[in-house]
């Protein structure tokens, strides 16, 4: 924190640090938490504001006067049909159960990624670093390609698929209605600090599908006695309940909250430990086991429990993660809220790996090569499809009905103003 304080006092980084701290857009003239600027928590993170000097115009709100005169919810649908005088928003979106996607999550949900070409001298050139300023201003996250809120074609390998894109394809009225409220290091312990940056007005806005995906940081820390510092099941319950109560006070009626189980990070060591880290590929001299060990020795290992050569510690970390997931499952079955239905989704990455192996892929191709810790672009895209298909099959009411007017919306409004 001392280092951060010094770096943050430099003019170059001041704005980035303020943005990280508040998790709201740095450039937001009307202070509605939506921005027309891409990075610094702008529209890479939340739907682009189509009017940044009017705080009553932003993505996700219920249309004002059916948007006959202006696009109050930025979904690109507005005006009225000259033939019958009906506003298009009313014609195409009324009763279609339109809603947005919000993700409350950690670095995996924000899509942390350090480009491997930054570490590969063999192919290094000026173009390898052309995205460096963007990466810094987005906290080394790439929410614009992520599992939950991705919307741009991936420039970091793989392809983009996301729950937002599937929901938008399902109902074009949902265009631009996404919020990525995720942060590197996010856990049930610290979510409370940035949960308030979520922008949803209970009275004015559309319902939302909120995914709660804290998949590891409650059991991941950089301390040598890592097991002692993990979130306990008791604290997990207290934290999650507090956050769900906050959501119940802020989400519009008809919303859904889906709790995602924690990951089983034994996958990391099992599949990477004897492989070469990008920095060790040229001379075959740095394996992930060495890389993890170096980070642990410096007390900088992001997940001492799983990125650890000691199998007992890895197993105990998984055991705690399973206990915390059980807490989430138990909350889902035992507690009811007034404004949203609660759901639970488990074992996402086991399912992703099983599907990837059926395609003939290798498990290590699903992991971020530089940090050896996060799921990568391929895992995210496959994960989005898996969640979509499973929820659609088991609880179709969550996504609502498919909009029968999608083709007409495309015909009339094209790409709806883009993203």
């Amino acid at each position: 924190s001392g280092v951060l304080l010094k770096i943050c006092s430099l003019p170059l980084f001041r704005m980035i640090c303020q943005t990280i701290d508040s998790s709201v857009p740095a450039e937001d003239y009307d202070q509605d938490n939506f921005s027309a600027f891409p990075s610094l928590r702008g529209y890479h993170w939340r739907g682009r504001d189509c009017n940044d000097i009017n705080s009553s115009i932003y993505p996700g709100r219920s249309p004002k006067d059916w948007d006959a005169l202006q696009d109050s919810n930025c979904n690109g649908i507005w005006g009225f049909d000259p033939e019958d005088g009906l506003p298009y928003e009313k014609k195409f979106c009324e009763g279609t159960d339109s809603k947005g996607i919000i993700i409350l999550g950690d670095s995996a949900a924000a899509h942390f990624h350090i480009p491997p070409e930054w570490m590969t001298p063999l192919t290094m050139s000026k173009s390898s670093f052309s995205n460096m300023a963007l990466a810094i201003s987005n906290e080394f996250d790439w929410p614009q390609f992520s599992l939950y809120t991705g919307f741009q074609n991936s420039t970091i390998g793989g392809w983009t698929q996301s729950l937002y894109l599937r929901l938008r394809e399902w109902n074009r009225c949902n265009h631009r209605d996404y919020q990525n409220i995720a942060r590197n290091g996010g856990s049930s312990e610290n979510l409370q600090k940035y949960l308030k940056s979520m922008a949803r007005d209970q009275q004015l806005d559309k319902p939302a599908i909120v995914f709660y995906a804290m998949i590891g940081n409650d059991v991941c820390n950089n301390l040598p006695d890592t097991l002692k510092h993990m979130t306990t099941p008791k604290d997990m319950k207290i934290n999650v309940m507090k956050q769900l109560e906050y959501l119940d006070m802020n989400l519009p009626k008809g919303s859904h909250v889906i709790l995602m189980s924690l990951a089983d990070g034994r996958f990391l060591w099992n599949n990477l430990h004897d492989r070469y880290h990008p920095l060790g590929q040229l001379n075959k001299d740095i394996t992930y086991a060495q890389f993890y060990g170096f980070l642990s020795c410096l007390k900088s290992n992001p997940c001492e429990g799983w990125m650890n050569k000691n199998e007992t510690i890895r197993n105990l970390t998984t055991e705690r993660a399973e206990q915390l997931s059980s807490v989430l499952r138990e909350i889902t079955t035992s507690v009811k809220f007034s404004n949203f239905e609660l759901g639970y989704y488990e074992n996402l990455y086991q399912k992703v790996n099983a599907k990837w192996e059926r395609f003939g892929g290798n498990p290590w191709d699903l992991l971020e090569p530089v940090d050896g810790f996060h799921p990568n672009q391929v895992a995210s895209a496959i994960g989005a499809d898996l969640i979509w298909e499973e929820i659609l099959q088991k609880q179709p009411e969550i996504f609502g009905k498919q909009n029968p007017f999608n083709q007409e919306i495309i015909q009339q409004f094209g790409d709806q103003g883009g993203h």
Partner: protein
């Protein structure tokens, strides 16, 4: 700057410089110039890189010419620090002569450099 952050950053950058020199069959100085020229100008990133190269460059050139590994070099220029009674953290395999001994030898190489003199004063 905390030891662990400066140490990781140093080992990373010196490894890259070392490998760039190897790939381009060039001197360490040239490799540093390559690396900085690849950095984008936005946000002053290229300037920051050049500043680091100016500060540490002469020592890095001397140390890299001795075929030392990045982790040993970073201990020699004090960006990594061994804590008393704790193991010395290393990314690469330990050198044949032992890690502590190799670090001591590397420290001797740069003991009289401008940077190390300023470091001591600071």
């Amino acid at each position: 700057v905390s030891t662990r952050d400066s140490c990781i950053g140093c080992v990373l950058i010196v490894s890259l410089v070392e490998q760039l020199a190897q790939v381009h069959n060039s001197s360490a100085q040239k490799a540093m110039e390559f690396l900085c020229s690849y950095m984008p100008e936005q946000g002053g990133l290229q300037g920051i890189c050049s500043l680091i190269a100016e500060l540490f460059g002469p020592d890095l050139i001397k140390l890299l010419s001795q075929n030392l590994k990045a982790d040993v070099i970073c201990y020699a220029v004090k960006l990594c620090k061994a804590e008393p009674h704790k193991p010395v953290c290393h990314l690469y395999e330990k050198p044949m002569n032992g890690l502590k001994r190799t670090i001591k030898q590397a420290e001797k190489i740069v003991r009289t450099s401008n940077y190390m003199q300023n470091y001591k004063t600071f």
